[in-house]
Amino acid sequence: MEFTLLWAALTGVFFAWGGTRLWPEGLPDHATDRMVGAAAAGLFMGRLVAMTLQGTNPLTHPGDILVIRGGVHTAAATVGALGVYLWAVKGQIRFLDATAAAAVLGLAGWHAGCLWRNTCLGAASDLPWAWSLPSSTITRHPVEIYAALGLIAAAFIVARLPIRTLLRTGAGFALASLVLLLTEPLRLTIKGGLEPWYIAGIAAGVVVVTLGGRAVRSAPIHTT
């Protein structure tokens, strides 16, 4: 049963790899490996934070860290993955920009991986494309499929942007957060939605784009 999570992760990796084939311009060597490594490090960091917030000490219960289904803190995982990726490309921002579209596509794959896990469904709906759990007659929004489609669209938009300092990175961050924010009301949750984090993600993306734009404008002009 637990292997369904692995299949979902592999779907994400496959989509990210596809992104590097679709948009290879400016990528570092072994871009997919670096992305997977960064994602794994982000998961680890997000899991540690989630455990700590749940009141479980990771040092006294190290085995719990592996129980990814117990919860991963989205914001901590994102920050961790970005940090490790930057470290892996030796702090060269241009590689972040070159990878942004493939990373958003990888995220789309992760959400599409709900099909392996049978976790695509959210709020009840009578729409014609809504479907139900195997044992139920209640039809529901396939919310994770909506998210996957939105993220695929976001990846293609990001890929059309020029590779300029932080433009693709910020746009990717903001668009991915926007897609997840728009689909969040259709997800069922007990602990509460992640809307504040997604709003923060959009704001962070806009700030990153703005800072990148300023850096480009203030950069010295080299003449030969």
Binding site: T60, R69, G71, L133, R140, K191
Partner: protein, 161 residues
């Protein structure tokens, strides 16, 4: 300076890791032992849907999902019956687990795993979703996460209405 800070952080981490968390189990009663027939009868007599969580104190994933189930019980305990089934465990360890996570719903003691075996559950933890009257609607083998539990609860609440 950086080395000093790193040392202090290391000492704090090691100290927190070594600290034995004393759990006060004085307020936790012994878990009642039930047979499969008795358990099924209890479910049938309930006038509302039920979520049955199979757990053990030695089960690492059970620790991860315990806070979620506790939160769900606080939120939906009025509409849905939450029941724990402790398997292959000791009373002492089970009570420590209950006290540590502040689990407020009742748990039964089933050292032989007869109850999850009867409902064809696999491994530990397992979460069963029962309709009013004790009909098994669905089974979630393994750790249950926020969305899966919320979906199961929504199904039960709509079933009830």
């Amino acid at each position: 300076m950086t080395k000093h800070i790193a040392r202090i952080v290391l000492v704090v981490l090691i100290a927190s890791a070594c600290a034995s968390a004393e759990v006060d189990t004085s307020g936790v009663p012994d878990l009642e032992t039930v047979t499969v027939e008795e358990f099924a009868s209890k479910l049938e007599s309930l006038g509302r849907p039920a979520i049955v969580n199979v757990w053990a104190s030695w089960c690492i994933p059970c620790r991860s999902e315990a806070p979620l189930l506790t939160a769900a019980h606080l939120e939906y305990g009025g509409e849905i019956e939450f029941i724990g089934v402790n398997v292959r465990d000791s009373q002492t360890h089970a009570k420590e687990f209950i006290a540590e996570f502040g689990v407020e719903f009742d748990s039964y003691f089933d050292s032989g795993r007869a109850i999850p075996n009867h409902y064809a559950g696999i491994g530990t933890p397992i979460t069963f979703f029962f309709a009013p009257g004790g009909e098994l609607l669905s089974t979630h083998n393994g750790v249950i996460d926020d969305h899966a539990l919320a979906l199961g609860i929504d199904e039960l609440l709509r079933f009830e209405s």
